[in-house]
């Protein structure tokens, strides 16, 4: 029986708790409790970490709902969203130079990480003002270089996430014309586990969920322990406490498992995933063989979107529910 598991995380406000959890021993504590070992690995490059998950190198990896659909699920790897950690509530945004509104984006080059949630956000933003992607030119730009890119004259519009977003909006003469708070609950940060692995090893699900909500409890307070935890996370992501707090402010963290369960159980999640599927299909992300947006089935507590015979992405609130009941 498998007792050693690997979890990959990348630097992002909603995922920094895993680093703290590993460093403070919380993850080990819960792993010991269930008699397993969990290796928490930082991966610098977000896409690479998901690719590795898809290739089977990691058992659990942090990613957004859209990437969970388009990378592992689209590659035929049955994946389960074990923990719904947060959703972006202003953490992703569209920024223009000068005193502008979203309509002014027409005809501009927009620098962003193509095919990522930024791309999705832009599409949703354009939709809100009656435009489509054809009204702009998307320029694929590595996230690490977006900030530097924005300082140059030929870059006038970007779509990106934090901490890059706050670096960019901190520059003079910029306007944030659209952000994820205008589409709340559509960009969701998950911990995704390989479904087969989870089925065979429910202990892994229990240990991870238990650890996560212990970390949440620690950092959600306002005592010294919370400050210490958040300072740690701030430094690991290359900023300071104030910077990290600012990022947290635009993130709707589900500190309590019950909130996460409620969010997962709602109908809205199914509708969101339908929108995401639609977007992904249009951009060819569901694979060349996909005949329509419903090609890959997505199972949520409220129902299944798409092909029931080809379910590859599952939202499973049962472990979070156990945490809510204190049953872990």
């Amino acid at each position: 029986e498998k007792t050693e598991f690997k979890l990959a995380w990348t630097i992002y406000v909603g995922w920094m708790p895993w680093d703290y959890g590993a460093a403070s021993g919380i993850v080990d504590k819960w792993a010991d409790k269930y008699g397993i070992k969990i290796d928490v690995v930082q991966v610098n490059d977000y896409v690479e970490s998901i690719n590795q998950f898809t290739a089977g190198q990691f058992d659990a990896t942090v990613m957004t709902n859209m990437d969970a659909l388009t990378i592992p699920a689209a590659s035929g790897v049955d994946s389960t969203a074990l923990i719904v950690g947060d959703f972006s509530n202003g953490n992703d945004g569209v920024v223009l130079k000068g005193d502008k509104s979203l309509k002014d984006i027409k005809g501009q080059n927009v620098n962003l990480v193509e095919l990522s949630v930024s791309h999705y956000l832009l599409a949703r933003g354009l939709e809100s003002v009656g435009m489509t992607e054809r009204d702009v030119t998307v320029v694929n730009t590595s996230d690490a270089d977006l900030v530097a890119a924005f300082t140059t004259d030929d870059v006038t519009a970007v779509t990106t996430w934090n901490p890059l977003l706050s670096e960019i909006t901190a520059m003079p003469k910029t306007s944030k014309v659209f952000d994820s708070s205008m589409i709340p609950g559509e960009i969701i940060d998950l911990l995704v586990v390989n479904t087969d692995t989870l089925k065979a090893n429910p202990k892994l699900g229990k240990a991870l969920t238990g650890a996560w909500y212990e970390i949440m409890a620690t950092m959600s307070g306002s005592d010294a322990a919370a400050v210490k935890a958040k300072t740690f996370m701030a430094e690991a992501s290359g900023t300071d406490l104030a910077g990290y707090e600012a990022q947290l402010a635009s993130t709707k963290m589900f500190y309590k498992p019950a909130d996460a369960v409620a969010f997962t159980n709602s109908d809205k999640l199914t509708a969101t995933m339908a929108k995401v599927s639609e977007f992904s299909f249009e951009h060819g992300l569901l694979g060349e063989g996909a005949p329509d947006a419903g090609f890959i089935g997505i199972e949520t507590p409220a129902g299944v979107f798409g092909d029931k015979g080809n379910i590859k992405l599952r939202f499973d609130p049962s472990y979070m529910a156990m945490a809510a009941k204190g049953a872990l």
Binding site: G76, E114, L115, A148, A149, D154, L285
Partner: protein, 276 residues
């Protein structure tokens, strides 16, 4: 002949032996791919050959649904244009500064240490600075190539200029040549074949920088496509692209070699015909 260093395969044997490792690699891939696909038919890591064929068909011979362009050719054209500009500018810089440094002591004194220092800076580390100075457009991609390879070309051509027999330069002076005439008629033509060698040598790095730059900011190009489809692990696109780049690199190297043989027969004759 019994010593292993003296034993030569015949012509036929050489060809068979040369092809052998490629066949082994191919078989190895096929069996690994089959094994993975048997387990998960949607696996994208080691696609079957039919998937490659489809991907090539799609990228090269069908217009893209989104833009109506033939992606492979569009990417190839964009990348080759950048590469040609980057390498061309580097060659020009290499010629000017390399020959200048080699011939004019008053130019060499200030420039040679600078070029040495520049050649040591890893270009990838200063990418952000490049973007800030040159923007995200075509310029920065070309500049990355230039920064990456021109110090090498400069240093190489400087050495080659130094290595020209001093006798020739003295002789040219006794024939009444002034500095400029000697550079134009005696040095430059002799450095040209060496320039081609230097370009052949640095072409690999040039590709590297091109791909790195395209991975960071682009809307088309071979490197752009590879790093874009990496997002959904489309090995069926990545591998043909890698092979295509390799083929392009080979074709360029070969053409440069041919060009040199045609244009500078005297150079290859005096080298005694040993070319790799």
């Amino acid at each position: 002949m019994t010593r292993i260093i003296n034993r030569q395969p015949n012509r036929y044997g050489r060809i068979v032996l040369g092809i052998l490792p490629f066949i082994i690699l191919l078989l190895f891939y096929l069996s690994a791919s089959d094994a993975r696909l048997a387990e998960n038919p949607n696996d994208k890591l080691l696609p079957a050959f039919s998937s490659f064929a489809e991907a090539i068909e799609r990228m090269a011979f069908e217009p893209s649904k989104r833009t109506g362009e033939y992606l492979l050719w569009q990417d190839t054209f964009a990348s080759l244009q950048r590469l040609a500009m980057g390498v061309g500018i580097s060659a020009l810089i290499g010629l000017l500064i390399g020959i200048g440094n080699g011939m004019v002591p008053y130019m060499r004194s200030p420039l040679s240490p600078l070029v040495t220092a520049l050649s040591l800076i890893p270009p990838m580390a200063i990418l952000p600075i490049l973007f800030i100075v040159f923007g995200l457009g075509e310029v920065s991609k070309v500049v990355l190539i230039v920064i990456g390879i021109s110090p090498i070309i400069v240093r190489d051509l400087q050495l080659r200029t130094d290595a020209l027999p001093n006798e020739q330069l003295l002789k040219a002076q006794t024939l009444g040549g002034n500095s400029w005439q000697i550079i134009v008629r005696v040095v430059l033509p002799q450095i040209m074949p060496r320039l081609i060698e230097a370009i052949r040598l640095t072409l690999g790095s040039a590709w590297l920088f091109l791909i790195a730059a395209e991975a960071i900011a682009a809307t088309e190009g071979l490197g752009y496509r590879i790093f874009l489809v990496r997002r959904y692990l489309s090995m069926d696109v990545i591998l043909p692209y890698v092979l295509w780049i390799t083929a392009l690199a080979f074709a360029m190297d070969w053409s440069l070699k041919r060009l040199s043989l045609l244009a500078f027969p005297w150079y290859h004759a005096s080298k005694g015909g040993r070319d790799d």
